[in-house]
Symmetry: C2
Subunit: 280 residues, 2 copies
């Protein structure tokens, strides 16, 4: 999110603004998947102990790449931004060298809860188990570093996309808090009702159709003059890109959205809740 452009909180949380960013992230995700797909699966990258002799640990090579990349990005204050979530536990990351920026308070972050919802473990798991096999050939071409570098880029883009759900939730909550509050205050909270309030099947269907079209454009073959050869998309499996969103990105985003809503009233004064409910 362009959090630093001087836009006001209502502007930043406007659903149109959020949607624009989510749509732009689709391109980043497809680009990075195409970049990864030029290399073989190279499954050693993901196996515990495959590089134990050299690394001195059982850690999979990819996890080393993630941690090293995030360690530097932490120094460059990446994870002080409310739309960025590291895969590495925050306590293992260095403190920022650059002074963190002042971000407007866009999200409700209760002091007692975790700093924020974080589904990165799930993202890493489905990426390695389902996405990489779906977009690569089951071979080993030895390009471990090149592949793992692209993996980190895909993972960071997916994480950003999925955790953006918190902004979606906040935006929708603010536009009609009284719709959400009874389901949040139910004991236990009514997660199905909360999910129903933020789910727009027509928007999801359109998203999947758009993704397929984008993957087709970006993954096309071109001749030596750069002209698109129609009906080729051999550089990325279009079905795999659509399945990525259908099976993983959309459901996990919903999990993030609902989890955020469940904690939306934590530490909120009763007087504020009464005001939202019109019972003040």
């Amino acid at each position: 999110m362009n959090l630093t452009t001087g836009a006001s909180v209502p502007e930043l949380l406007a659903l149109d603004n959020i949607r624009t960013q989510l749509i732009r992230l689709e391109d980043t995700i497809i680009f990075s998947l195409i970049e990864r797909a030029q290399f073989a699966r190279n499954k050693r990258i993901y196996e515990a102990g495959a590089f134990e002799a050299e690394m001195g640990s059982q850690e999979p090579l990819l996890n080393w790449f993630i941690r090293e990349t995030e360690s530097f990005h932490a120094k460059a204050r990446r994870y002080t931004s409310p739309d960025e979530h590291p895969f590495t536990p925050r306590e293992l990351l260095p403190t920022p060298v650059l002074v963190p920026m002042d971000f407007p308070p866009l999200l409700h972050v209760p002091a007692a809860s975790h700093p924020s919802v974080n589904v990165n473990d799930s993202i890493l798991d489905f990426y390695v188990r389902h996405i990489v096999p779906g977009i690569t050939k089951d071979k080993d071409d030895g390009n471990y570093g090149s592949s793992a570098t692209r993996d980190v880029e895909v993972l960071q883009a997916l994480s950003r996309r999925i955790h953006f759900g918190m902004f979606v939730s906040e935006s929708k909550f603010q536009s009609a808090p009284a719709d959400f509050i009874p389901h949040i205050l139910a004991n236990p909270p009514n997660k199905d009702a909360l999910a129903a309030l933020i789910t727009k099947p027509a928007v999801e269907a359109r998203l999947l159709a758009r993704l397929a079209n984008k993957a087709k454009v970006y993954g096309c073959e071109m001749d030596a003059d750069g002209h698109v050869i129609e009906d080729t998309a051999t550089r990325i499996d279009i079905k795999a890109v659509v399945a990525l969103y259908h099976d993983w990105v959309i459901p996990l985003t919903k999990e993030v959205e609902v989890d955020y809503l469940v904690h939306r009233l934590d530490e909120v004064p009763q007087s504020q809740i009464d005001e939202w409910m019109g019972t003040a």
Copy 2:
């Protein structure tokens, strides 16, 4: 270059194989330029001293990003590959944690000369002074980390593309050494003649046309359903991409190619030269 797929040296040095890799790199370069262009120019990234209070040095932020990224990649043995050249002086980079792979001896590397031709200083200079201004809006949106991360990706791809010229030179030299040898042995070496031997104006013209078409496809606007809106390419300036290659990538590649050829006979026994010349 997929140096590790078990292909033989003649296969790896076949001009068709090299061209395929160069064409694939065009897509990587355009993708990464589009990713950079979504952010503002953010010229503070490139200014010496802009972050001095925090970093404790005059170093531009981008240079810090390059050095930190390359330090990790060095540990992951990136710069032991003959097609990879760091921007950071090699002596400042850590030694590889991963055991370097055995690469086939594709290039002629005289022991007395620098490890290899390296024009990265020129690449960084033209990128900051000409390319970034050509693809971004002259604004500051505060997204310094996101921008600098993309800068590093563009720079690494450009460096790989330009230094690939050494493989082109070696391939062409091997196919007709007697054509090159007199110009290499001239005192001083006849660089113009060497350049003429490796220059194919028709190939260059086709490359520039292909690039424009690719930038048009990848930089297109799409509607909410992912359909291309014809004759839009607002995400990247097509002319800037073509100029990047015309003004910088092609001339610098030629510099790398000629410089490689000038040193191609260093430490080569006279008997080998005689054999190539048919005078043995």
